[in-house]
Each structure stands twice: as C-alpha cells, then as structure tokens.
Amino acid sequence: MNYFEVLRAAAPETVLAITVLFVLAADLIVLRGATVRGRFLMGGMLVVVGCLLAAVFTWLRFGQPDPLHGMLIVDPRTDFLKDVLLALTVFTVLISTAGRFTEHVGEYLALVLLGTIGLMLLVSAEDLLMIFIALELASLSLYILTAFNKRNARSSEAALKYFLFGGMSAAFLLFGFSLLYGLSGSTHLQEIAGGLAGKGADPLLYVAIVMTVVGFGFKVAAVPFHLWAPDAYEGAPTPSAAFIATGSKVASFYLLVKILAVGFAGAAGSAAWKNGVPGWVPVIAVVAILSMLLGNLTAIVQTSVKRLLAYSAIAHAGYMLLGVLANTPSGQSALLFYVITYALTVLGAFGVVTVVEEATGGDAIKDFAGLSRRAPLLSLCLLVFLLSLAGIPPLAGFIGKFFLFSATVAADEQNLGLLWLVVLAIVMSAVSFYYYLQVLKQAYVVDAPEDVPAIRVPLILRLTLLVLAGLVVLLGCAPGLLLNQL
C-alpha cells in the first residue's frame, strides 16, 4: 500500500482535517478576547476557505480512482457529491453565524467539519469496515452538535435520545454487516454481491437485509426508526438540526442505494402490486409506506415549526425510499436530485427558523404571525422553501418529485406494478400541502401582534437565504443543471 496514493485520493478530506486544526487553534489562540459573534465570523471564514480548498481538490482529482480496494472510491459522482456536502457545510456554517447558542465556537465549527469529513468518506466507501467507521465519525459529531446548546436542557435530552437510538442502530448495522461477511466472505460490496450470488433464499441473508435497513432507516429517519428525529430537531441548536437534516441525509441515501443495489444486487425482490417477491425492495417499500403515512399525518398536528419540519423530513424520507426501491439508474439519479434539492430547501427553511427564533424567542407556528410585514424578504424565502417542500412548481421540490415518481413507475413500465406506491406518495404529498400552508398562512395572512418591530436579518444570513432560495427556484426551472451531474 502506497500511503502517498491514499493521501492523494483523500486530498479533500485531508484539507478539511487540517482546517479543523486551524479553526481550533485560531479560536484558542487568536480569538479568545473577541465576542461570540466575531469568533463565529472569523472561524466561519476559515471554514469557508477550507471547504473551498477541499472543493478545488475534488475538481483537480489527481488521485487514483481506487487506491485502497474499495475503502476509498473516487469517481466523478462521488466528487460531485462531496462538492454538494461541502456546499451544505458552508451554508450551515453561514447560518450558524447568526446563532447565539454557544460560546464554544471553535469546537462547534470543528465538529461540523469532522462530521463533514465523515460524510465525505461515507460517500467514497465501498467496504463495510470503512462504511462503518465513516458512519460513526459522522454520527458522533452529530450527537455532540445536537447537545451544543448547554443552556437548554432539551438540547441535552435530544442528544441523549439521538445517541441512544444511534448506538442501538449502529449495533444492528454491525450485526447485519457481520452476517454479510459470514455469508459472502468479504467486506467489499462487489465481492459480497459475487459471494451471495447463487446462494438462493438464505434466511440469514434476509436477517442481514433487515439489519442493514434498520441501521440506515435510523440515519435517514424513516419509520419505525424515526423516534429520535422530532426531539433532536426541536432540541438541537437550529443550525445543528439543519446539518443533521441535510448533509447527513444526502450521504446516507447515497450509501444506502450503494449497499442495496451493489451489495445485495441479487436479492432485490419486487414490490409490484400483487406480485411481490421477497428481497430488500419489499422491506424498503414497507418502511417507505410507513414513513409517508406517519410523517405526513403527524405533521398536521404539530405546533412547533421545527417539529413540523422533522415530521416532514420523515415523510420526505418515505418519498426518497421510493427512488431506492425503484432500483434503476434513473431512479438513483432522481433520488440524488431529490435529496440534494431537499437538502438545500430544508437548510433554507432552518435558516429562516433561526432568524425567527432569535427575534421572537420561539419556533411555534404562531411566532411566524405577520412575518411578511416584519421581514418581507425573509418570508418570501420561507414561501419558496415551504412551497418547494410541498411540491409546487416551478420549484425544485416539484420537479424532484416528478423525477422520483416517474422513475419509480418506470421501473416496472410494462405492468405499472409500482404505481400503487406512487399513488400513495402523491396522495400523501397532497396532504402535506395543508400543513405547509398553515405556516405560510401565519406569515402572510395573520397580522402580527400590535407594534412588534421589524426583524433585522444579519447580512450574511440574508445573502445565504437568498442564494438558497435562488437555487431552489433555479433548479426547479432548469433541473438539467443538476441532473446532468448525477
């Protein structure tokens, strides 16, 4: 093994790791006397520079495609996804600069970066060991980020809940992986597929499938492994919640597809109406149905916007799982399109929540009353984000849904066997319109209480939200820009 080759292939991650040290050092040595806000700004600048540098390294792409036998795959798609993750990190950090939830700025930013490194490695991994290590790196960072608001007991509670569920699901995942290794004699995904071929319907294989789905079902917050999500979203500092909801989702979905479609290639089965065949596809179908139903129906009764976003995230995970079970190349690119645009949208929505929380002290739906008067631009952004989540054209969420659903139906185009799942998804997305509209109704229809001042939005946040809203509109009108990369 040539370590230099490994380092070259892992150049973007390495750059980020060095940035982590810089951020920590700068915060400890130089910025001790500065205000929290100043430290956030300076540290944030460092992070942005580091992420840009890392992105440059992904564009240069001068390493070998596979220097470590599946531990670290580098191809145009992983490079692009890493760019997306870096962009999401930058946006998250920019949104954090408005927050006042912690004095430990350096540690906070360092953990965000460490989480990003974990997610980037996750995207590149095609080996069970590496997958697990990367997953743990990302997860541990996210647990701590959830607990970062030390002044709020709910933050710690949420983190503990997240951690316990996470640890449990990691155990399940590891158990599944060990079964896979036992069945196939390898930890490399393609070799696993080879080893499983011809084994037939081994009960152990199904146990392994279910265990893997449990592990990743937790990561993407799919029912019935979602219980941590509403509490984590609500209790965590809003930027941390945004990071959990976005970057982590993108990477987890990419990996889930990779494991299922590559590792379990021979054990797909089918979820066609009345023609189901056992395998991982029906398992995913069950999880998807539960997520869509429970996520959407529970979101209706929420009064906190962050909890509402959490249940909507569960519902969206359900839609995205349809792209997984389509098990076709077009289904996978539709899924990636969907999850990326979803991440941009949700990040924006959390950005708006951050501002409103700072201004009103809460994130209840009624705290958004009269937002269109108090902060016209902010509420316009909120309008774009929530309508995109509801799937209103011409925003990215709509076209993403169209890609995803049409690819799912097209996976069985002769018999339209998967149409029933899509019908359910579309019906549920009609339900979702109602609860997004409840928030918008507060912002645009209900008047603010008497003489509340206008909300001042920090410049950085305003620009970030405008860029995100612009991207959501742009990718809705010209989806080719993103789709051609996937």
Binding site: I392, F403, E413, L437, Y444
Partner: protein
C-alpha cells in the same frame, strides 16, 4: 408574441414587489397598465393568427430532455378564445378592485401572478408545462382569498386550495402513468401534447386513467359533486378574486378536461361519456335549484356558476362538434357574465352596503339608490339567463343542440335548469333592487351610498359590450373554435362520437 401575455404579467409582479409599501396609487396604475398591456397583446396576437385550426408554435425549446419536456407554448383557436377572455377578465377585475386599500401592492402582485399562470395554462402545449402553470395558480388564489376576502375567508381559501391541490394531484398521477406508458410504447420520452395525442393508449389503461385526469381537472370546473369549493370560495373571495375564480379559474379546469384528458384518451371519454353528462346535468339543475333558495346575494351567483359550468361539461360530454364548440363558447360567455355579476354583487353592492343578505337589501331600495348597479345586474342577469343577443344564448343553444343529438332525455332536464336560471335571477333582482317591502328607511344610513365610480362604469361597460358583441356576432369566436375542432387533434375524439 402571445407569450408576452405571460411575461408581462410576471414582470408586473416583480415591479409591484419592488414598489414601496405606501404607494397604493402607483400599484393600482401599474397593475392596470400591466393587465391592459396583457389584454392588448392577447387581442393583437389572436388577430394576427391566420389559421386558428392549427396550433401555431410561439416558442419551443428543450426544457428537461430526460423527460422529453419542452418549453412549448403554442396557440390554436381554443387557446385564443380563452386567452382573450383572460385578458378582458384581468382588466375588468382590476377596475373593480380600484378601492382595495389594504396592502394594495401585495394584492395586485398576487392578482397578476394568478393571471400570468392562467395565460400560461391556456398557451401550453407541453403537458408538464401546462401542469406547472396550472399549479402555479393555486398559491395566489389562496392568498387573495385568505387575506383580502370576507365571510369565512380562511375556511373558503383553504378549501379551495386543498380541492385544487387534490385535483391537480389526481392529474399528476395520470400524467406520470401516461408518460411511462407512452415511453414504453414509443421508446422515447415525450410530454408533447401533439405527439402524445397521436398515440393510442391501451383501452384498459384509458379506462382508469381518463376518469382520474378528467375528474382531477373537473374539480376546478365545478363538476358536481366536487363543486362545493365553488360557492364558499366565491363568497369568501374579494370581488376581483371571485371574478377571476368564476371568470377564468373554473375555465382552467374545463380547459384541462378538454385539452388533456379528452384529447389524450378518446376511448376513455366514450366509455365515461354518460357518467360525465349525468353529473353535468345534475350540476346544472342542482346549482340552479340551490341558487333559487339562497339568502346571501353572492351565494346565488356562486351556485349559478356551478350551474353554468355544468353546461360546459355537458357540451364536452356530447362529443360532437356543435356541443364542443358550444362548450368553449360557454367558457367565454360565462367568464364574462359571471365576472360582471360578481362585480355587481361584490363591488357595487356589498362594498357600499356591507351586507349581502336579501332581508337587509330589501329594505334599502337599491334600485333607486344605485340605479347603475340595478341596470347592470338586469343586463348581466338576462345575459346569464340566455336571452338572445347576448353570448350566453348562442353558447347554451349550441350545447343543448349538441346534447340533444347525444342524449335527448338528459337535455330536457338541462332545459329545466335554464328555466330555474330565469327564476333565480329574477328573484335576486327583485329582492336586491326592486323590493316592494316599503320599510321606512331610517336604519341609520347617515351617509348616502357612494356613487358608482368611473372605473366601475368602464369595467361594466367593457364586459357587457364583450357579451353583446359575441352574442350578436358569434362568428367572431366560432371562426376560431370550429376550424380547431376540425383539426387532426380532435379527429379521434369526434369520430363517431355522436352515438
């Protein structure tokens, strides 16, 4: 050129958004100029088109190649009729909302966004693009009603939004299924309306997908029993909102039924023809019957819309050229007349008296106080009854002739709906304007009612003139509609459909 109707409207939205908050007067003027420009472009573009039988491409550029979607705007005769209607309704709506003082610029921004979306639907020849514009109209509708409406506005707005959204999602299911089936059949992805209309989908597929798409669109056209959003929505909406809802938004639904559901699935239509006709006739009679017993002036007009849109759907169900041409003409005619009726009720009467209850209106002798409103209502009313000389007559006559060929018995029932129509208009007229109850009027009107303003007079005159012109010279529009129905696009739909 016609594409500019869409662009102008959205440019208007942007300009309005950039205006300072207090500039109410400027907002009105900008909105009016935008609407007039849109209407002018619509008229000019329509007159320019030499062969209305063909879909003249306005712009066609690849949009999402992997789906086969194009940014494809085109217009044939039917589009022209509806685009012109939209232009007229848009201008009239602004004239009748000259008195909006609350958050004026936002009001007109949502208003123009709605108009832009409507133009877009009527000009789209790509199914996905049509759908995009169709859904785009939901949001402005919601906010217009919820923010500037009256009676139970939030309920009415939410009901309308949810009905529209559910309807459009039914369409979406059908659209995705159609896309997949078409791609499996031809080997390449396409969402081009003209291309898809040349395919013949399997009968079993049409059997279930047609009702899905048709009902999805027809919800917005007020198809009984999915019409219940219409009366509540119309009543809750501000005047311009109800004018647009009845005037053009309900037409979006009917247009989608014709343009997408019927053209793509001709066999499906034939299978379900009877069911549609039956629902349409129930809508006609039921709407008229319920309109007859309302106490709220606006509910009368709201239910009358359900009844009149029933004629559109009945015309569509006939599947013969005369019935279809009557249906399209009725879309135009009802758009104009319902707009005017809502203007009288909402703007001329309600904004001045602050009541729409017949029991209150009876005591006010509005016929004397607001003679202009009374006369306008009489004229619009007789136009709505279908008196010869107004557009409604030609349209409903054609529908009835067409329907007589297709289903004679149901036509008789629909005729009963017309009689009821005369009854409810006369009743409303008598109760609101010329009541005999001579209650001494000292109910505390210190201020006399504001006189009818100039914008109102212009708006009313414009709409009445449009209805009269089309009533006297229906050829103006029929020359656009009929060649279109004879075109290859409708060939399979009409072939043997008179059975």
């Amino acid at each position: 050129m016609l594409a500019w109707t869409i662009y102008i409207s959205f440019i208007g939205v942007l300009v309005l958004m950039l205006l300072p908050r207090e500039a109410a007067r400027a907002a009105r003027i900008i909105a009016l100029l935008t609407a007039v420009a849109g209407c002018g472009v619509a008229l000019a573009g329509a007159l320019q088109q030499t062969n209305p039988g063909e879909a003249a491409t306005i712009v066609k550029v690849p949009w999402i190649p992997s789906l086969g979607a194009n940014y494809y705007l085109a217009a044939d005769g039917i589009s022209l009729v509806l685009v012109v209607l939209t232009g007229l309704a848009a201008v009239a709506g602004i004239l009748f909302s000259w008195n909006v003082e609350k958050r004026t610029k936002e009001f007109f921004a949502f208003y123009l966004a709605l108009i832009g979306g409507v133009y877009g639907v009527f000009l789209s020849f790509d199914v996905l693009l049509l759908f995009v514009f169709y859904e785009l109209t939901i949001i402005p509708k919601y906010f217009l009603i919820a923010r500037w409406g009256s009676t139970r506005k939030e309920y009415g707005a939410m009901k309308l939004a949810l009905y529209s959204f559910v309807g459009s999602h039914l369409v979406l299911i059908g659209l995705i299924a159609t896309w997949v089936v078409a791609r499996a059949q031809t080997g390449h992805a396409s969402l081009d309306l003209l291309e898809l209309s040349k395919l013949s989908f399997p009968a079993g597929f049409q059997h279930w997908v047609f009702p899905l798409v048709f009902v999805g669109f027809a919800i917005l056209a007020g198809l009984w029993p999915f019409h219940t959003w219409a009366p509540t929505g119309h009543v809750a909406a501000p005047t311009a909102g109800s004018m647009l809802l009845a005037g053009v938004v309900m037409k979006l639904g009917a247009y989608g039924c014709l343009r997408v559901a019927m053209v793509l699935f001709p066999e499906g239509v034939r299978e379900w023809q009877w069911a549609i006709a039956a629902l349409a006739v129930i809508g006609i009679v039921y709407g008229a019957g319920v309109a007859l017993v309302q106490r709220d002036f606006k509910f009368v007009i709201g239910y009358s819309s359900v009844s009149h849109m029933g004629f559109v759907l009945l015309g569509l169900a006939t599947l013969n050229a005369i019935g279809l041409s009557g249906a399209v003409l009725q879309m135009f005619s009802h758009g104009i007349i319902a707009g005017l009726l809502f203007a009288v009720v909402g703007r001329m009467v309600y904004d001045r008296t602050h009541t729409r209850d017949f029991n209150d209106l009876q005591t006010m002798q509005l016929g004397k106080l607001l003679p202009f409103a009374g006369i306008t209502f009489v004229l619009a009313g007789v136009a709505s009854m279908g008196l010869p000389g107004f557009s409604g007559f030609v349209a409903e006559l054609q529908v009835l002739i067409g329907s007589w060929h297709a289903f004679p018995k149901m036509t008789l029932l629909a005729g009963a709906g017309i009689v009821l129509g005369v009854a409810y208009i006369l009743r409303a007229w008598q109760k609101a304007f010329y009541s005999d109850t001579t209650v001494p009027d000292n109910s505390g009107h210190d201020h006399p009612l504001d006189p009818i303003s100039t914008p109102e007079r212009i708006g009313a005159a414009m709409l009445l003139a449009a209805s009269l012109v089309i009533g006297l010279f229906p050829g103006l529009l029929l020359n656009w509609i009929q060649p279109c129905l004879a075109s290859p696009l409708f060939e399979r739909l009409l072939k043997g459909g008179t059975a």
